[in-house]
């Protein structure tokens, strides 16, 4: 395998006595779309929050291009090339879509208050670049007609896209999407899946996503990691995951240990 761009090693997160993540390791190949799936409560979002420094790690490391990400303060994570969206929409309603997207440019802003106030050439140049990025990202996601609308008045699907667009405006190398199509119908989620794929091509992105929509995961991703009760129970290409008895059992509610023997047979036959 090529050198991973993002790598989780032995991630362990505890909330009081509850072990939410237990020794979770996986590697994301550059340029891939990598999905993390699992039944409710498997620790998928916890995994994202731990990787982006929102939850403290009891053990383990996160590496971005080989460098430790888990020791970086939150506000520097985006500068290392990692941007994310959230499972529950977090968008300030009163802001316009353009403002929300511009927040994605924050970490690239060099011009200080004074330079901006005096409209110095460097500040103006920066502002133009920001506007260009905001516009092109908005176009890709079909938001270009809504840039001046307050986020609060937009329908759910567009707000969801606004959040993805905000992360894209940061020009990350790795984009973490936490349930990007949750609450969308089949047609909408297929369309958004297409957009995500286009974004990958256009920006040379690596995408790590948590998703419940199996159809989307299987059609979109190059690699799938399956979590159950905070542990990795499978980590493979999507077509193999679909046939994995341990994964199937996990979704049906069986104990992974009982079906593990069955997997050996499938794997040796496959």
């Amino acid at each position: 395998m090529v050198e991973p761009i993002l790598q989780a090693e032995g991630l362990t997160v505890r909330f009081g006595g509850v072990v939410a993540l237990d020794d979770v390791s996986f590697a994301v190949a550059p340029g891939s779309i990598h999905a993390v799936i699992g039944p409710n409560g498997a620790g998928k979002s916890t995994c994202f929050n731990a990787m982006t420094g929102l939850y403290p790690l009891a053990a383990g490391t996160v590496r971005m291009s080989g460098e430790r990400l888990d020791r970086v303060p939150r506000h520097r994570i985006v500068r290392r090339g990692v941007a994310r969206t959230f499972q529950n929409l977090v968008l300030p309603d009163a802001l316009t879509v353009a403002d929300v997207l511009r927040l994605g440019r924050h970490h690239r802003t060099r011009a200080g208050l004074l330079a901006t106030a005096l409209a110095l050439p460097a500040a103006r140049r920066e502002r133009r670049t920001d506007d260009d990025v905001v516009r092109s990202v908005a176009e890709i996601l079909g938001l270009e007609g809504h840039l001046d609308d307050p986020v609060g008045v937009l329908p759910y699907g567009l707000r969801k896209k606004t959040e993805i667009a905000r992360a894209l405006c940061a020009e990350p190398e790795v984009l973490l999407l936490d349930e990007p199509v949750a609450g969308m119908n089949d047609a909408e989620s297929r369309a958004l899946g297409e957009r995500i794929r286009e974004c990958r091509e256009q920006f040379g992105l690596t995408v790590l996503l948590v998703e419940h929509d199996m159809e989307l995961v299987m059609s979109l991703s190059d690699h799938v990691t399956v979590l159950q009760s905070g542990r990795v129970i499978a980590d493979d290409r999507p077509e193999r995951i679909q046939q994995d008895p341990v994964v199937i059992a996990a979704y049906l509610g069986a104990d992974p240990a009982e079906v593990r023997d069955g997997r050996e047979e499938v794997v040796s036959r496959g």
Partner: protein, 296 residues
């Protein structure tokens, strides 16, 4: 007719100053979620320093020193007292600012004693006459300076990345941080601006026709709180409108209370709170309350 015009002019000027003060209060609330009841302390300590420094270095140096002091005291309050408990309950921190206010005001009052310190502004008690309007020159300058300060602030708030960071960081700090916003920087800069704006309004409120700097000056901050609430707490535009409304009502009350009979005695002193009651009865969320949409 003349008294009406005069009431309008002085109300506008007074209202602009209250707006500046309320703006500082709202900036701090927006950025950190804390109701800063130490606003009067920031104001008083800044104006006191301005008065002391102006004695040896002149008025303008005094003003700069006062503004910097207000900003500095606010930043110290934020970093020393609030930063370390930033994750704690905002109600607790708000009560902490009440205590802080008491400490600082008591100390500055002790230093001022029973005197009334002069600010030594070069304009003194000049008045200007524009048509039928007669108003202290200082109050006219106050109006211009307040409008300028508010404009500069709004431009920064609207068009800089700092302003954008401030607008989002209280509502969703985690997102802002992961987009590269340093919450600690947003926090202390907001307190600094809040402190400086309090002093700016205080400097004019202590000038003619007010005789000078007395400990009672800290009480004028009690105009900032109703102004902010009337406008809809958390709304920058609302703070400005609320401030101007308060100034207007107070000026009109002062102009006409004498002819209203005994019941209106000192109506101007309580007009802010009467207005607050009326507004809250009719529109509990304030006039321009930032729209909050609950979502599951």
């Amino acid at each position: 007719m003349d008294s009406l015009l005069n009431a309008l002019a002085s109300g506008l000027s007074l209202g602009a100053l209250y707006a500046v003060m309320a703006l500082g209060f709202v900036v701090i609330y927006r950025a950190t979620g804390v109701l800063n009841f130490a606003h009067g302390a920031f104001l008083l300590v800044g104006v006191y320093v301005a008065s002391v420094v102006s004695e040896s270095h002149g008025y303008l140096v005094g003003v700069v020193a006062g503004l910097l002091t207000g900003a500095l005291v606010a930043v110290v309050a934020e970093t020393v007292f609030l930063r370390n408990s930033r994750t704690h309950d905002h109600v607790t921190l708000t009560i902490l600012t009440l205590g802080l206010n008491l400490l600082v005001v008591t100390e500055v009052s002790r230093r001022i004693g029973t005197e009334t310190l002069p600010l030594r502004d070069p304009i003194g008690n000049d008045v200007v006459e524009i048509g039928a309007i007669t108003m202290p020159t200082v109050r006219l300058i106050a109006l211009v300076v307040a409008v300028l300060a508010i404009t500069v602030f709004l431009l920064l708030f609207r068009f800089t990345s700092w302003g954008l960071a401030m607008r989002v960081s209280n509502q969703d700090g985690e997102v802002a941080a992961l987009m590269g916003v340093r919450l600690s920087v947003v926090s202390w800069t907001s307190w600094a601006i809040g402190g400086a704006l309090a002093v700016l309004s205080g400097l004019f409120l202590a000038s003619f026709p007010t005789p000078g700097v007395t400990p009672a000056l800290a009480d004028t901050a009690f105009r900032a709180f109703p102004a902010a609430v009337i406008g809809g707490l958390g709304s920058v535009g609302g703070a400005l409108v609320g401030g101007v409304m308060l100034g207007m009502v107070e000026a009109f009350a002062a102009t006409y209370e004498g002819s209203l009979g005994g019941w209106a005695h000192n109506l101007s002193g309580i007009s802010a709170w009467v207005l607050l009651l009326v507004v809250l009865l009719l529109r509990p969320q304030g006039l321009f309350s930032a729209k909050q949409v609950q979502r599951v």
